[in-house]
Amino acid sequence: MTGERRVVITGTGALSALGATPEELWSGLLEGRSGIGRVSRLVTSGISVTTGGEVRAVPHDRLDRDREIAERAIEDALVAARCDAAECGFMWSTGLDTFQAGADGFVHRSAGLCFTDLSSRFRYPRRMIAAACASGTQAVGEAFRLIREGRAEACVAGGSSVMLTPFYLIGFAGLQAVAVDYEGDEPSAACRPFDRERRGFALADGAGALVLETLTRARQRGARVLAEVIGFGMSQDGFDLNRPCDDGAGAELCMRRALSDAGVAPGSIDAVNAHATGTFLGDLAEVAALRRLFQDDWRRIPVSGMKGAIGHAMAAAGALEAIVAAFTCATGIVPPTVNLSEPDEGCELNHVLGEPLFAGARTVLSASFGMGGQNAAIVLKRAEL
């Protein structure tokens, strides 16, 4: 990679169940806290899933909640980077449409129209990414690629989702993908990635935004660099719409492509920010992929997932995970996987349990594997300027 087209992260914004800033997300993860809880308005509706990761900073009855959550994360990232939207391209996923009950009944808001609203103040390229749960990672990866190829100087990248509505909770419950309520359950432990007692993910609202730009531009502006993006890969399982390949082949392929793009050997990875949804098959496939990717190094490389703490924010998930991966690069610290206490048979990895790991991590792989078999991975590295 030439010095001129190195791509760095200079600003972040995050709204999640752990708070309304990236710092609150990071500190919550380091403390091993779960932001997932019982959602009172869902309890009264009588549905079978009443837990989730709420973004409390934006009132749930705002009908433009999809736009507001995204806009706040985007603005925070721009302010942190001291950038203007008009200087940046825009790679963003607004996820799925939102369906809510308003004062006058049914309210449908299109994800496409939300993107159009958000994007108009940005310069070109403006691309709406739609790759299911891999969207956030793919948005960051696309921004990285376009900047590296000289097609943009700076981009805001990420994603946002409003998922905590009965529409999606009932739908995902039908797919047996979310953790449904049971007598005596502990809401904050609804999502237990890789754990022997895992029973699906907790849906969540959220937004994650990152400002990416060339290192040259960042230096010229005197911007604070959080981490460098050095590789991106994507793939499709081409296997099944509802479940991953048993051996995680599609996941492995996208991670290999990201490492190859970065020019980094698997053994050089210091930590993994895993997709880690807490679904039975998804976790098994991911572990199989990571173990094949790392060969014997899987016993050494720490793996952490954050959906046990904030839930699965779909289009935002990969972007929020990229932010945490960047914090890991900057600090060397790998947060624990919240709610993982006893790894299941077939889920053995070098999991970070209970406490954060001061691993001195410098190079981090962050991967997302979406429904329908759409996968994306990025490689981040500590900024060495």
Binding site: F106, S110, S120, M128, A130, P166, L175, Q236
Partner: protein
């Protein structure tokens, strides 16, 4: 270099069902936009692709909600919320698939065992031109020799019946484009920011259909085609011009 080698446009599901039972068998479980998109994609791929497993895929998700079924189901759920009881509400799991935002891309990959480059774009207004640029970028990168751009949408959220699916297959080397019998090179997608953003038509496929119509009407060999994208098919922010070159 980026050459258009084949294109297909589908808007009649009954005709697909009648004339192509094998295609119908493969797409029947999906929702209208995905059915039409896949039927178009299968047609161009089977007719003109050298290796469907290695085609780079750029796919636009529908802008409308996944399907009319989902939309209606949303109304049912909302009514239940207003009445304070959703306990008995169940969703047809097949229809949950309709919410996968790039279902056509996944289904195409499964059909052909395709593990090549893939870019899932949303169906927001004007994203078709971003897709066209992505195709050009990818073929310029040289890792694939063919690229597919596909899109589909239903005409309005509540309507099962009317929609459009479109697919365009591109090659990095010159080949005749079927309908014209001449090679069609995608030269550039040019953009100029409009003074003020304007309203547009959120439809994933309509813009590409307009481009194909303009190409079909272009019969002057050797002449450049400069297609000024109508405002309604743009994102309302940029004025877009697609420049193509038709030659023997």
């Amino acid at each position: 270099m980026t050459y258009l080698v084949a294109a297909a446009l589908k808007n009649d599901l009954a005709a697909i069902r009648q004339s192509s039972p094998e295609v119908w068998r493969q797409v029947r479980r999906y929702n209208l936009p995905v059915q039409l998109t896949l039927a178009a994609a299968f047609e161009v791929t089977n007719a003109a692709s050298a290796d469907p497993a290695r085609v780079a895929v750029v796919s636009l998700a529908p802008c409308q909600p996944g399907s009319a079924d989902l939309y209606r189901w949303g109304q049912v759920v909302t009514a239940g919320m207003v009445n304070g009881n959703l306990g008995d509400t169940r969703m047809n799991p097949t229809q949950t698939l309709h919410a996968v935002d790039n279902l056509a891309m996944s289904a195409f990959a499964i059909r052909y065992g395709n593990h090549a480059y893939c870019l899932g774009l949303g169906g927001a207004a004007g994203q078709a031109w971003a897709g066209l640029e992505a195709v050009q970028e990818r073929l310029a990168a040289g890792q694939e020799t063919e690229a597919l751009l596909m899109a589909g949408d239903q005409d309005c959220a509540e309507d099962w019946a009317n929609g459009t699916g479109v697919a365009l297959l591109f090659s990095a080397s010159p080949k005749p484009y079927g309908p014209l019998g001449q090679s069609v090179r995608l030269v550039a997608v040019e953009r100029q920011r409009r003074p003020h953003p304007d309203s547009t038509r959120p439809h994933a496929a309509a813009g590409l259909c307009g481009l194909l119509s303009a190409l079909a009407a272009h019969d002057r060999e050797g002449a450049a085609l400069s297609y000024a994208v109508p405002l309604e098919d743009s994102d309302g922010v940029d004025a877009v011009t697609v420049r193509m070159e038709v030659s023997r």
